[in-house]
Amino acid sequence: MSLHLILVEDDAAYAEGLAAELRGLGHRVEHVGDGRQALAAIDREQYDAVILDRMMPRLDGLSVVETLRERGITVPIIMLTALSMASDKVDGLEAGADDYVVKPVEPEELNARIHAVLRGRRWTTRESDTIRAGDIVVSPTSFRAWRGGQPITLANLELKLLTELARHAGEVLTRAMLIERVWGYDFEPETNIVDVYIRRLRIKLTEAGEEDPIETIRGIGYSLKP
């Protein structure tokens, strides 16, 4: 899916590299150097998502997010920053950003997060409790899941993992994203927790000899087939 993105970043060299990599993934990317230019550009044109550096001259990233949200502009915003402290992250999300990524970020990771935010928007607008992905149905509120109409018994964490995968079916979820959203950790464990739980989930989803619905994206993460 080709998206129209705006990259707000004062470090020209870094911005150029990142923009080129995002273009390589098939997106249209515009680059502006500070917060005021960003506000002006967003007023002028419609973007699918904003990639916003946190620390910039003139108008910093946090103020841009606050201004946009005050004006009722709901464009998805992903904050990009060199600050890795947990409190910075909370500040960014509280200001109204949709996600928060620490530099340096691999383009695939950023791409996965942009798509996840867009998909999440579409999902939340749908007033439904059950999530469908192929022949898989998940009901997070009743803690139940089915495959091909047959109930699957899942542990709490496995159900949360399947819910997150199903919610973003067809999109790539990186290990970091899963650790953040399913486990709720603000650190990346050095053990292969995600891989272990994906393996367990796979076993339970293919118990009746069905096809494996989870695709491994080597070196990046996982994706549930839609």
Binding site: T191, R218, G219
Partner: protein, 454 residues
């Protein structure tokens, strides 16, 4: 020698030593002055009574020993004169009978000079000197004079001395105590600052009174030093972000290339080597993450986010979550959690990370198909969270080395770690005012986090 003793004295010791020296010197001076005063007065009085005795016993030219009548006449004359009227005179015969005079003696005084006291019963005399001279033909002339010019002169003098020296002592002792108090207080202020900084608050400064004294200059210099350290720390923090930024980006690219190579390799040995390189790349990335995490913890910023939470539940949940990971590696996890009414106040994420790390270590370094014991106990001190494996453990003499950054132990612990796992746990313990203890699980390693009550 003395310099060395002085250097070794504490402020309190020095104060007490100076006080003692001062007291000894002052009291000795007072006593010496008192004694000298007495001796001088006695000498003057002695000279005076000797001169009076000379006048009484004077022999006229060509005459023999003066007759008793002559002596008594001279004595009467002296007693009548203004400047010798206070002197007591008595003439005794060879049989001790009083021949004449203006005083009465209660005892026989020895020949020559002697002291007199109140008990000698001479009217109006409490302290004095007496001179007994041979007046010829067995007679004795006794001349008596007071050493006190006034009544109760001695007690008045003692009072004057007590008031004089006493007030000097009081002023000086008070001064020294106030001085040592002041010095102690200013030093305590500096110590409080140092303690606050050790506790992680680098923004703390020594108060400056504005009096521009030695202490103020010292405090100002100290504060400038702290400013400089703060700047350097800030620069270092910035630098670690720069390092993370500058090195992680190429590392991330390298990782992506290695992943592609591993996937596309035509020969299995090539794939294996690429996978191996990929693992090393991940270790490097994990090392950056751990370094930045330790820097974040040591900056103390996370203390602002401390909140009460259910620690037993966290330990149980995290251990349960890690069970499948341990099972895949062939280990089993046993959990024993003691419940308690006291709630724990701290950083939920950091304690979770700590436990995940410790269990991860136990999986990595424990005996194959071993048991990992996770326990949470409540003691007098607070909470004790322990993770024990039944692997080869760490020798007691290597415990300190294991807690040092990059202090990875070569043989016992295999070469897969990056040497920042235990230092990170140690930093988490210190952030919670606790400590990390390594012990022998016989066999195996037991790592305990002692977390005091808030």
């Amino acid at each position: 020698m003395i310099a060395r003793v002085i250097r070794r004295l504490s402020l309190r010791g020095l104060t007490l030593a100076v006080l003692a020296l001062f007291l000894i010197a002052t009291i000795a001076t007072g006593l010496s002055i008192l004694a000298a005063n007495r001796v001088t007065v006695a000498q003057l009085v002695d000279r005076r009574i000797a001169a009076i005795a000379d006048v009484v016993l004077e022999r006229d030219a060509g005459e023999g020993v003066p007759a008793t009548a002559t002596l008594l006449a001279r004595m009467a004359q002296l007693a009548g004169e203004r400047d010798t009227g206070d002197v007591g005179l008595v003439l005794q015969g060879a049989d001790g009978r009083v021949l004449g005079g203006n005083i009465r003696l209660r005892r026989l005084l020895p020949p020559g000079l002697s002291d007199l006291r109140t008990r000698d019963g001479i009217t109006g005399l409490s302290h004095g000197r007496a001179l007994v001279r041979d007046a010829g033909t067995g007679r004795r002339l006794t001349v008596v004079a007071e050493t006190e010019p006034l009544d109760s002169y001695r007690s008045a003098r003692t009072r004057i001395y007590l008031i004089g020296f006493g007030s000097i002592i009081l002023i000086v002792v008070g001064g020294i105590l106030a001085f040592s108090r002041l010095v102690g207080r200013r030093i305590a202020e500096q110590r409080a600052t140092v303690e606050a900084i050790i506790a992680g608050d680098i923004r703390h400064r020594v108060p400056v009174t504005g009096s521009a004294d030695e202490f103020d200059r010292q405090a100002a210099a100290f504060n400038r030093m702290l400013d400089r350290i703060g700047e350097l720390m800030e620069a270092m923090r910035g630098q670690s972000h720069d390092i993370a930024h500058d090195l992680r980006t190429p590392l991330a690219r390298l990782r992506a290339q290695l992943a592609a190579m591993a996937a596309e390799a035509s020969r299995p040995d090539q794939a294996a080597r690429a996978t191996d390189a990929l693992a090393q790349c991940d270790t490097l990335l994990a090392m950056f993450a751990a370094l930045l995490r330790i820097a974040e913890i040591e900056s103390g910023h996370r203390q602002a986010g401390f909140a009460p939470f259910d620690l037993p539940a966290l330990v149980e949940d995290t251990a349960t979550m890690m069970m499948p990971v341990a099972e895949e590696a062939g280990h089993q996890i046993m959990v024993a959690v003691e419940r308690s009414a006291i709630s724990f106040i701290g950083d939920r994420q950091l304690l979770t990370q700590t436990l995940v790390n410790l269990i991860g270590n136990a999986i990595k370094y424990g005996r194959a198909a071993g048991t990992i014991r996770v326990t949470l106990g409540v003691t007098q001190e607070g909470w004790t969270l322990s993770v024990a494996d039944d692997g080869p453990g760490i020798a007691a003499e290597d415990h300190a080395q294991a807690l040092r950054r990059f202090g990875r132990l070569d043989q016992a612990r295999s070469a897969t770690g990056h040497g920042l796992g235990l230092p990170l746990v140690d930093a988490v313990a210190r952030l919670h005012h606790g400590r990390l203890v390594l012990g022998d699980a016989a066999p195996g390693l037991i790592v305990s986090l002692i977390l005091p009550r808030a």
